[in-house]
Amino acid sequence: MQPSPTKRIWQQPGVVLGLIALGLLLAMFVSAALGDKSIPPTTVVHALLNMEAHDDAINGIIVRDIRAPRILTAVLVGATLAIAGAVLQAIFRNPLADPGLIGVSAGGAAGAISFIVFGSWLIPASWPLLHEIGISLFPMAGGIGVTLLVYRLALHEGRIHVTTMLLIGLAMNALVGALIGYAVFFSNDDQLRDYTFWSLGSLARANWNVLSWLAPIIVLLISALLRYRRQLNLLLLGEYEAVHLGLNVEKLRRRLILFTAGGVGLTVALCGMIGFVGLITPHLCRLMLGPDHRWLLPASALMGATTLVIADLLARISIQYSELPLGVLTATVGAPFFLYLIVRAKRRASF
């Protein structure tokens, strides 16, 4: 478990982690400078330090009030999705688990849509706070519900049945399709357009207000998950093996599911469904660092943040003056990667 002396310097977990963190900072800075309007790095620094030059007011606003909160939201959402992916892969003991693929995101979306469509009937409009709470709680509950369902149905005698796990994801995505169908039926065309854009995933809702409540929750969730990094290793041996090694698996799993699915649900409520970040980033990190969760979890969080910052940058600059839905972009890259994993796994017959 100690870094063995044969490892080269760039294979040391601490070094790799530092490099990823550096990459994240670089990506954040580049993302703050690039966009529909290219802003010189010095202006970016000035704007961030609030030393706004008067002739550059628009640049200042773009950097400080549009890009900065958006980039920070990308960091938080990306970190949540990636760490959730890594944790779910450990819980399900399968490297193919992803919040999107096994239906956690869809569960979150189902929660969000149900609330949007039916919440307005149940809660009087005069209680806006209740709406605010509902729109965050319902997706969290949806995500947690689906994860528990997947676990119940896919677990057979201590082993996760991969096909069942993925089929439940399929069913959940179909259910969300149906719910959007109801939403189509019960709503006007404009709301429908809103659902569609929301379900495609976007960070356009990011601002400092959103960040002020999102950041503490996500930071708490991630630090809570990081506390279980050693236990997650044991979980990989199997349910009973982990118990025999002194783990209260039942309790641990309940907490992990609560934190991960809750976090994913929250990001879905805010940004819609952004798939594959939770699948790809833990994989890349495992390639670099091995499967040890003590390094994998923080690395995944950093890498997920980097991935989403870059993806959002691409979404913003790929079409001038307008943006590509973020979820579409991540799926375009992620789906082929998923296929590659399946082909490779099939060749090795290792899952």
């Binding site: 100690q2 063995s4 490297p95 990989l236 009973y240 025999h244 002194g246 783990l247 209260n248 091995g290």
Partner: protein
């Protein structure tokens, strides 16, 4: 150390174990044998808490198992279980897998000492050279030995002092070649000699007779016999339970199991 009173275990509505009684003492190795489907692995799972009891009680050190299982972190310091097959879909280095066995002790023992214990355990199973190899690159037999090293590392304190140690092994020889089968049985025997209570599910009757203090023979979920290895494993009883005519042949102080074949003169000893 372990007492098992009148236990019945059901899978669905079917009872797969009925009214079993037996006990396991410290410094003793008990082998469970029986034909396929007689309930050997089920019994091990019931004793380790993986399967719920329909009736009866299992006691560890005078306390019921169910109560103790509520604090798995305590029990894990002196009880280890090696399942028939451990799967690990993630590619850890071997030393990390063995180190997982030390996780119940991490709070009490410093890191460098834990590493020493793990390396010693790997040496015991003849796998120290594999220390830095990746788990998924190992053969089935090597994996099994690495997991054995893991449980040995877990029980290190119990095996090297007067503390209690309880070891469950579910057909640990299944994937191994003859040399490593013998090596693992030796290790299990050593554990018992050093004060551990060892519960071993085994297929090979000759090995059971050679290594076990007492033998529990099961058939169709019932106990057929429980007692000293030599007396339980009588040729007559084996013939009745396993449905094959055998006789014991004694040679240089070892008992060899010979399968009787009335139609020819060839003899065959099982391994």
């Amino acid at each position: 150390m372990l007492r098992c009173d009148n236990i019945t275990v059901k899978r669905g509505t079917r009872a797969v174990l009925r009214q079993l009684h037996f006990d396991l003492q410290a410094a003793e190795l008990i082998a469970v044998i029986g034909p396929n489907g007689s309930g050997k692995s089920t019994l091990l799972k019931a004793l380790t808490g993986e399967l719920a009891l329909a009736r009866g009680t299992v006691e560890l050190n005078g306390q019921s198992l169910a109560t103790q299982m509520q604090r798995p972190q305590d029990i894990a310091r002196w009880r280890a279980v090696l399942p028939q097959q451990s799967e690990l879909a993630f590619n850890f280095p071997v030393i990390d897998v063995v180190m997982m066995g030390r996780s119940p002790h991490l709070a009490q023992v410093e890191q460098a000492r834990n590493l020493e214990i793990c390396e010693a355990a790997l040496e015991q199973v003849d796998c120290l050279a594999l220390k830095d190899r990746r788990y998924q690159h190992l053969s089935g037999g090597e994996r099994q030995r690495v997991h054995l090293a893991r449980v040995l590392a877990q029980l290190h304190e119990g095996l090297n002092s007067d503390g209690p140690a309880l070891l469950f092994l579910d057909e640990p020889t299944a994937n191994l070649d003859l040399k490593h089968q013998i090596q693992i049985l030796h290790l299990a025997r050593q554990c018992a000699d050093r004060g551990a209570a060892v519960f071993l599910v085994l297929h090979d009757l000759q090995q059971a007779r050679a290594y076990a203090d007492r033998v529990l023979m099961l058939k169709a979920g019932r106990s057929v016999a429980f007692g000293k290895a030599a007396s339980v494993l009588s040729a007559k009883r084996i013939e009745r339970v396993f449905d094959i005519p055998v006789e014991w042949v004694h040679h240089d102080g070892d008992a060899l199991l010979k399968i009787k074949n009335p139609n020819s003169n060839t003899t065959n000893t099982t391994t």
